[in-house]
Every structure is written in structure tokens, then in C-alpha cells.
Symmetry: C2
């Protein structure tokens, strides 16, 4: 399996229909905060979502993601409280946009059918591919797993929202995570009334995405970048 | 568009065929290091890949990714040299697995049709969703963009490899990145002889992935986790 002996693959090429399906999932994936209350996600669907996350790439095959499924109503309520506290702290840090920020719906923890917490595991000492950027590469692997899960949820016609408004130390304490583990996301998952046509922050007039041209360069960073 | 008025969506549900396509892309995506030399990727395909990356979610809509397409043979060669230096440094850090490590093919920079550098942009001060974890959330957004690009490449029947064996300071200098920008990935993209049946590190006997059950917990971190 060295450079002169690549393994022959049994995999067939992807068709244009399959490619189009992938691109539609990416285009219609949204960060959802509105969920239909009182719903559930079938166990076999949850398993597919977790498997999708677990199929992510990881640096040196370290698989640093851990996924906690929150089933306890008390734990969910405690997380709601932590997020609300951080929402208030964020509002204070927003300065003149504080009032506008407080009118946004920023999470759907109460109504979503399933709540997962994605955690970066304590460092296992993997050197392969991360000697110079150990933490960033582990974080990237967890993010890739979450993105896989997000796309899978969309293809299952379920919404997902990534909530990062929390104090990681308090989530760590609540969920009895090891001191060296870092919660990175509260993932709200479940049926939604409808998927937003555009990112909700755009629909609300909070902020607008900029075009690809501002972010794609050739060979070197531009002297004057439109994006910066 | 507040909680009582969700926008009605024009999007139709995804079919089971579309869902299966997504899952097959995820299952057959690989971190590729073997590429067919002397190939090119059509411009319209490259554009689709970049658009896929740019459709990623980002915290507070900050879109912190920047994608540099390397077209200069001199720059590519300089990157090859930087990666080779880090490969040697990694080997030294590997201890007793050093010789075994040096036999692995860890990158395909010379042969791949296209080489992109994915960069975390200088922080734009976004507070939304990242007051408590500013750097991690920005890094996660770049990783989600890379994962989108990776899945898109696979669906286009192109290989991609994420090379993280480099000193970010030296890549920053080479590509004249701002001091506050961090290169996170060299992305090798192009036609491949065949896609690996399993992760190459497994085929080589370097390391084996562990099953989902080791990583999925309920409510709290387990007292004794099989994974840790």
C-alpha cells in the first residue's frame, strides 16, 4: 500500500444525481432555532446521525469526539439555564446592539426533540499530523464530526442548531466531564416547522454573508482584502 | 421571523435516495495521499468545491475561512519542502515508531492536481456565539468548510487529503499571511488511482478506528470510558 501500490477500490463512481443531492443538502442546511415541540426522533434515525458523525475524518485517526445524549429533563433544564445566563452576558458584551441581540431567538433547547452535547475528549497524546497544532487539529476533527451530523440531520429532514452560548467550565461541571475535556457544542436536533430560506441571522437583518470572491485568493494573501 | 412566526419554506423533503447518496459520500470519503500525476481539475469543478466550502455554517456568520489556491510551482515546491521538514521532526517525536512512521506516505503534495491552503482569518471581533470560546468556534467554522469541501470532492469523484504536517509560522511567512492569520490545512485535491477501502492508517496497520459505542454516552461522562 505504499506509493507504488495503491489499493484497488470496489467503489463505483458517484453519479450526477448523487452529487446534486449532496449539494442540495449543503445548500439547504440551516442553523435551526425553531423546533416543533413534543416530537421525538426514532432510535434508528438517531443511530444514523451518530454514525454519520463517527464517520468524520480525524487527525491521526484519534477520533477525539464524544457525544452525550441528554435524556434527563433536569439536565436539559440546567443547560437551558446556563445558556440563558450566557445569552445575558453576551448581550452585555454587545454594546449598542444589545437590545437588538436580545430580540433574536438564539437557541431551541426547550423544544428540540433531542439534545446532544459534543465534547472534545482529553488529549490522548497523538503526534501524527498535530505536532505543531495539537489543539487546533483535535478541535477540527470534532467540528468535522458535527458538520457530518448536521448534513445527515438535514437529509433526514430534521433541523439542527449548534448552540455555543455557554460557559464551558459550567457545562463541564454539570455533565461531570473530565477536567481536560472541553464541551464545544450543544446540538439541538428534531423536527422543525420549516427550514429557513436563508441563514436566520440574515432573515433577521443581524448580519449578511459575503460572497465567495471575498474569500478565495490565488497564491498569496491579497494586499487589500475585501474581507478584512 | 421571531419564535411565533417561522418562515414557511419552499424546500421539498429529501428522499431516501438523496439521503442514501449523502451517507455513501460520507462512508467513502477518504484522506487521500495517492494522486494521479499530470491531471487537472476543470475550473467549474473547482468553483463547485469552493462554493461547497463557502456554504458551511459559521459562528455568528463570521465566515472566517480563507482559501488560497496555489498555482505557482515555486510555492508548491516550497510547501513540499516545509512539509518534508515537519515530517522529519514528527518522526523524531515518534520515539520507537519513528522508522515505521517514515515508511508511511503522509501527503500527496507533488502529484495532486490542485493544492489549496485553508486559513483562519484574523479575528474580526465577532461576539455572537463565541464570547466564551472565541478561537475554538472560529476554528470549528473553518473545519466545517473543509469538511464540506471534502465531501464535495468525493462526490465529484476526486480525492482530497488534509495535510497538517507543517509549521504554521513558516507557511504564514511563505504565503505572506497577516500575522494574525493561521493556516490550518494544505488541501491536496485531484483525481486518484483509486479510493482506499478503509482509512489508509488502518490499511497500513498504524492505528485502527474504534466503534461508535466507545464514543456515545448518555447524560454524563461514564465513570470508566472504554475510549480513555
Amino acid at each position: 500500500m505504499h506509493s507504488d501500490q495503491p489499493i484497488r477500490s470496489q467503489h463505483s463512481d458517484f453519479s450526477s444525481d448523487e452529487r446534486d443531492a449532496l449539494y442540495r443538502v449543503m445548500a439547504e442546511r440551516r442553523d435551526m432555532r425553531h423546533f416543533l415541540p413534543g416530537q421525538r426522533v426514532p432510535d434508528e434515525v438517531m443511530l444514523r446521525l451518530l454514525q454519520a458523525a463517527h464517520r468524520a475524518p480525524s487527525v491521526g485517526l484519534m477520533q477525539p469526539w464524544r457525544l452525550l445524549r441528554i435524556t434527563s429533563p433536569e439536565l436539559r433544564q440546567a443547560l437551558v439555564t446556563l445558556v440563558e445566563e450566557e445569552r445575558q452576558a453576551t448581550a452585555e458584551a454587545m454594546g449598542k446592539r444589545s437590545e437588538e441581540f436580545l430580540r433574536l431567538k438564539v437557541e431551541g433547547l426547550r423544544d428540540c426533540a433531542e439534545l446532544l452535547v459534543a465534547v472534545l475528549a482529553p488529549d490522548d497524546g497523538t503526534v501524527f499530523g498535530r505536532r505543531t497544532m495539537p489543539r487546533d487539529m483535535a478541535v477540527c476533527s470534532v467540528a468535522c464530526a458535527i458538520q457530518n451530523l448536521w448534513l445527515a440531520a438535514r437529509a433526514e429532514n430534521l433541523g439542527m442548531g449548534w448552540v455555543s452560548m455557554f460557559d464551558p467550565a459550567r457545562v463541564r461541571g454539570l455533565l461531570q466531564l473530565p477536567e481536560a475535556a472541553d464541551p464545544l457544542a450543544l446540538l439541538c436536533i428534531g423536527p422543525v416547522p420549516a427550514f429557513y430560506e436563508k441563514p436566520m441571522l440574515e432573515l433577521e437583518g443581524w448580519r449578511y454573508g459575503r460572497p465567495l470572491d471575498d474569500f478565495a485568493f490565488t497564491d498569496r494573501w491579497p494586499a487589500a482584502s475585501a474581507a478584512d
